[in-house]
Amino acid sequence: MTEPFSTPLLLIGILGTAGAALPLLGIARRDRGSHLYAAIALGALAASLALVGYQVISGVAGPPAALPDGVLADDAFGAVLAAAMIIVALISTAGSIEYMRKRSAPAVYYSLILLATVGMVLVVYSADLVMLFVAWELMSIPTYVLVGFNKRNPGSNEAALKYFLFGALASAVIVYAISLAYGLTGSTNIGEVVAGFAALDISMVPLALLSVGLFIAGFGFKMGLVPFHQWLPDAYEGAPAPVAALLAAATKKAGFAAAIRVVVMGMISLSVDWTLALGVLAVMTMTVGNVAAIMQRSVSRMLAYSSIGHAGYILVGLAVAPHSQLGMQGAIYHIFNHAVMKGAAFVAVAGMVVALAATHMDKLAGLGRKMPVTSLGFVLSLFALAGIPPLSGFWSKLVLFEGAIDAGSSLWWAPWLAIAGVLNSALSLAYYGWITRRMYFEGEREKRIAEPRSIAAVMIAASVFLVAFGIYPEPLLGLASSAAPLIP
């Protein structure tokens, strides 16, 4: 039974109240002055981050059980990933302040971000399939609206329609998977479902495999795994840039959290050789993402493909999870890092949209002199995404690939995943380096222009995070290893 004052419930209280109050306040004040709404949203998010941070640091959050009972599991796995989600929501809200200044309905906008955050936090904590599904929808429905928020812009509308169609199909597939799992085991608790799968009659195993496959497909839509990724670049390009940060860095990671809770555990209990399937998916995802990213001319589209590539790296961790404890740790560590890196990169794009009204590569020439702070943060996050030491992205990739090599003692092909990952990182360096060259070594005598202040603040905070945890990675590594559920 969930305690009345457990972390997830308190988080619902804080974020949900602020999210519900904002539109009412907006009606009362006739939407004047968007800064107040942003301040309220930031306050609620900061309070929840402080709460989760306290839970993590003080060790109140219990160690993660592989198969928790109850509806919501108040454990370290949930707390660490919830912290990542809330950090992204903070980044995205702060990045929206200048972006939303001249646009309509700011109160609704911030309220939707908060409600989507409640959904993501609940996805991460949920230990029951009903809860997982409701939280999944609470996370998805606000983001459909957010993607189409610039409703006079055809691109934004088209992005929202595509995202909506694929998202709705993904939820439908997830309900179908839940219905099969429920029919086979008679329970919706994830732990009981997994135990039921393990005790299944041999004639029913194909149905259980179908259920797990549908789960992978449903979560894979959000994660951007390769056969299900077509909507993703369109949605990220058309969406308002701060919303793209939220999608790429947070909702995608919520998909991974759900996959860890359901798929990895379910697959282990079925004792079928499934790691090869996930490994092949991982290699396909990272290769398609990185190769397509090279060909893009729009910065947000390139970042979208690069986030597909990163989904592939994280999937390596899930694929080797049963054979090496490092796999799960690396996945959680990389989820956390990628949240900050990709969030910061998309907020930098938001800065370009505000200051230059463009995201095309050609407009980047001389940006290093025009907007020095934004450019520096952007370049640091790009290099962290590529995994260059001593930035924090390097360490999480190192742990992931170490896990793959570590699993090599029982899986002969696992080290190849690490090799594919390293080759892909090298490939990604090509387009990150190309952007950097444009920003710093092209363009003639550009004058410095006014940088959006809140965006510059986000970039500074993100740069400090990336450099500090790159030089001193132990705290994050410790968090990731304390959050990784032990595989039975």
């Binding site: 409701v134 459909y144 088209e158 929202a160 169609l165 179908y176 429920y182 008679g186 058309g238």
Partner: protein
């Protein structure tokens, strides 16, 4: 003769197939939305049938949740379609091609 569990499962699988077919073939956005709804209802039928045969009330609870959430989802989808219709005077997905690359 009372319907067996297998009958419900067959209808549900047929609905799933119709939904996937609709999504793959149709190019009208509203039809595609209907196709997704059919898939959701296939799952709901499964849930209720399994709940009846296990017997356990959990599945029916989830089916109710799922119906309510699907309604919320359709509301958002239709409002997006209305915005698109005002812009293009059409809801054919083949017309949406401003994002490419």
């Amino acid at each position: 003769m009372a319907a067996e569990l297998v009958d419900f499962a067959l209808v549900s699988v047929a609905l799933l197939g119709i939904g996937i077919y609709g999504l793959a073939v149709k190019r009208n956005f509203i039809r595609m939305l209907f196709a997704v709804e059919i898939v959701i209802n296939a799952a709901n039928l499964n849930l209720v049938a399994f709940a009846r045969f296990i017997p356990d009330s959990g599945g029916q609870t989830l089916a109710l949740f799922s119906i309510a959430i699907a309604a919320a989802e359709v509301a958002v989808g239709l409002s997006l379609i209305i915005v698109a219709y005002r812009m293009y005077q059409n809801v054919d997905v083949a017309d949406f091609r401003s994002l490419r690359g």
